[in-house]
Symmetry: C2
């Protein structure tokens, strides 16, 4: 039987998971999908995701690929997988991909969103789905700061340490705040992202919104390459992997 | 010690509850709040809500009152209660009310919303928070139907049976559909609502959106007073009690 590569787009609520990536003795999104593929094809496959979301991070459009010898038509994988996947994970689409397609390395850009609920009282309806900031945030200052991330920069200051990367340069094509349905929503689109980069950018902008630092510190941070000068890492549950683009 | 009446506004995620009202051996929102008041004041009080939401129904602005001999300042109840309430319930505001204020009988209008996610695939991020309709809905037909509920009508056709009410006439001041962030959102505002009225109105409009019936059937239903001629009862988890207004 011939082997085919299948591309899937996945939505999930990350609240109940220790992130995307398979780990020993941990409940992960990747493991759930691999178990679902095993259930419908009998094959033990390894799937590859475009991005390894951390525990608690959500996705509207995580993208992944896997190889199968199954004769199930590509578009039918979606229905078959959704029938066995838990309610907090769903395959939004499934299709045949070229053998050289790679969910991570073929990606040309990714879009993330980060949701903040900015009001005095915590919100039960936003629980696990947004970061609650009780102190008033200066939206204009945050919007001014967001625009400063656009362009090609060295993001060493916005990367969690402990990684042996050699290249910290990434290109950001969109970076903006909007108000949506009671939330402050940050949208960032770029060629690639370093580990915890979006969450450190958001944490830094929240410090700007709280007037603990000025938007002027952003260009300095992009030049200085000092993680400890940047802001805190925003909590994972406000972060959403919205989409992954391929040429 | 003098007794004061306190008015509270409450937000909750109804997913984990058997509705608002206290019932034997059931986990309810009212019981959680009464337990929280007991924890902070030592008083066993009964609270009265503006509307008895069913199991799974959510609220942005349920309103309730209770009487207390506690000396806690009215606005401090909010903080004290939120410190002991579970994460899926929060008191949004607390204030002193007149002794004759009654959360239910003093209410002059209530606003509900109903959220539908209309796409082929189920949505993990909308799970328990919206009704998933996989078949395409005709938005314009539903919008046309919604406007026909505005006015003073006998809503017998839109009331769950088994109730010994004598007056089924209610006045609806707003009834409209909008598109918000991937959802179809129905907003209805009125002087009062019969049992399951919003959910039967929504179920009827969904049948109209699916072209199983025409908007013309709405005026007939408002005249006929026959529950069995109206549509199905929409599931509870798409319904939100948004606000309760008082003069």
């Amino acid at each position: 039987m011939t082997t085919r590569r299948i591309k899937i787009i996945v939505e999930y609520n990350g609240s109940g998971y220790h992130g995307w990536q398979v780990q020993q003795n941990a409940h992960t999104v990747q493991a759930e999908i691999e178990n679902a593929i095993l259930a419908i094809t009998g094959e033990k496959v390894r799937i590859t995701g475009a991005g390894r979301t951390d525990a608690g991070v959500h996705a509207y459009g995580q993208t992944a690929h896997f190889d199968t010898k199954s004769t199930i038509p590509a578009d039918k994988f979606q229905y078959a997988l959704n029938a066995v996947l838990p309610k907090d994970i769903a395959v939004i689409s499934s299709e045949n991909a070229e053998p050289e397609f790679h969910a991570r390395y073929s990606a040309t850009s990714k879009t993330y969103q980060y949701k903040i609920i900015n009001r005095r009282v915590r919100s039960p309806l936003a629980e696990n789905m947004a970061w609650h900031i009780p102190e008033p945030l200066d939206f204009d200052q945050m919007a001014a700061a967001a625009s400063l991330f656009i362009g090609t920069h060295d993001f060493s200051s916005f990367c969690s340490s402990g990684h042996s990367l050699s290249n910290f340069t990434r290109t950001i094509t969109a970076s903006k705040w909007s108000r949506e349905d009671g939330y402050l929503v940050y949208t960032i689109c770029g060629s690639g992202f370093l580990y915890k980069m979006v969450r450190i950018i958001v944490g830094t902008m929240v410090e700007i919104g709280l007037r603990k630092r000025s938007p002027d510190t952003v260009p300095e941070l992009l030049t200085n390459k000092e993680r400890e000068k940047a802001g805190i890492t925003a909590p994972p549950f406000g972060l959403y992997l919205v989409s992954v683009d391929y040429d």
